[in-house]
Symmetry: C2
DNA sequence: CGAAGCGTTGACGCGGATCAAAGGCAGTGG
DNA sequence: CCACTGCCTTTGATCCGCGTCAACGCTTCG
């Protein structure tokens, strides 16, 4: 009923691309916002390669430079929950305790920079100024985690997938990993290429792969998207998709 | 399948009581961890009174001193999602942007300290050292938000409620707001008094009040809890309840 | 005592899980 | 070049947990 809740046009959740904190020029030292990652080590991971495991010592922070990273967790019964996806520019591996509470792996082939902490939990690292610059990343993760539990708690399969596609699109549309033609030309800007599997999507949205597949079909049936193979999706009616969000 | 994922005995999520960050003595200046809240203003709220609204200027940070605060959001269709509950010692109102993305209200009568920021988004506040001490709070919120989406994404009504009860119990058992007798005596330590409504629980767990009610009955039927009225619950079999968590 | 909230209980239907099978598609080897 | 193999995805049939609708009990307060 309250009217001020109608915040519109922001559907992105769980796709971290580091744009939000970068867009705040009044952060002290924003230019080197994650400068502590600059002297890190570049590492490449093939799809499904684990980057760190739930329970490992949390002695690194990471930043994605290419591809998509997922954070996830296995349940006792073998089920898997995918917490979030991280894209170019996003920081992951932030932990309060001295061990990771969740695993991270490459959802597609990807490249990350890893920065080694000096054996201390990150809130206790020696460089306070560097740590300060992690607060925006942490708050960004937090906001997206909250948005995601809202989706999981309140929304149907169609709505969750619609939101996912919008978020995925917003995550790539400004980046360089565009499908098809290399020039920034005509209106092909609502094509997306899913470099992650149906299973990753399903485990993230709290659905099964069968339901995800059926829901893709449903969205196509409603003329909101066009499927060209399993991985290539055109967002035929972005307005309609956004209608379904939140 | 991986064995190191079996982290046991930590079921608390979404109940923030500020114990975790306080338990890290190696945080620089942990004693005054939230000292920036010390010169704040004490405020009292009756149940359901809004503390701040989604969309308001995010110019305050809060710390709970008594009672339970919920953060929540209304959806367009009138549904409500309760993101988290905050208890004595917990900090809430942390935001990346300059406006709150979620509302906060008193889930029970409660008292909070509000600290006014100087008109800037909090990551840009003048006192960097003070800000630094918010990082643990933010990371704690983040971990719990992640745990909560896991519950919502993967678990059944019975499992969610079991986890909720364990978390609620862990949140009160060490605090002073104990039910019944005032002395720290015999084994009544697994009685809890729910000061929040079924609706708050339902909206938090992504269920309806009917299902929550039925699930309480189911847990009692399985002899995991004993209900003495709607608000007083004895955790008769904590081990059994924990079996259901995660 | 009546009214208003909150909580419980029952009947029924639907959305998504489960079980089962078959259709692309890429990589491999003959 | 084509058959073979394994993985990912789709599609169909059935089942079940939870939502929905409806009615009733309990408590509180005027």
């Amino acid at each position: 009923m309250p009217a001020q809740f109608q915040r519109k046009g922001y559907a992105a959740d769980t796709f971290y691309d580091g744009r939000r904190e970068g867009s705040h020029p009044d952060v002290p030292g924003a230019a080197e916002a994650h400068y502590l990652l600059d002297n890190g080590r570049l590492r490449h991971f093939v799809r499904d390669r684990e980057i760190y495991g739930d329970g490992d010592k949390a002695d690194h922070i990471f930043k994605v430079t290419a591809g998509i990273v997922r954070t996830y967790k296995f349940l006792r019964d073998g089920r898997r929950h995918v917490d979030a996806f991280y894209r170019k520019g996003a920081v992951f591996g932030l932990e309060l305790g001295e061990r990771y509470s969740i695993s991270a792996a490459a959802a597609s082939d990807c490249t990350v920079i890893s920065y080694r902490l000096n054996g201390l939990p990150m809130y206790a690292a020696s460089d306070e100024r560097a740590l300060l610059h992690l607060l925006p990343s942490a708050l960004d993760c937090l906001a997206r985690a909250q948005a995601h539990s809202l989706s999981l708690g309140c929304r149907t399969a169609v709505e969750r997938l619609a939101k996912f596609l919008i978020a995925y699109h917003e995550g790539t549309s400004s980046a360089d990993e565009r499908p098809g033609s290399s020039d920034e030309g005509a209106g092909s800007s609502n094509d997306i290429v899913l470099t992650i599997t149906r299973k990753d999507i399903a485990d993230h949205l709290g659905l099964t792969i069968e339901t995800v597949s059926r829901t893709f079909a449903e969205l196509e049936h409603r003329a909101l998207i066009e499927l060209h193979g399993a991985r290539q999706v055109r967002l035929a009616d972005q307005e309609g998709l956004r209608e379904l969000c939140l």
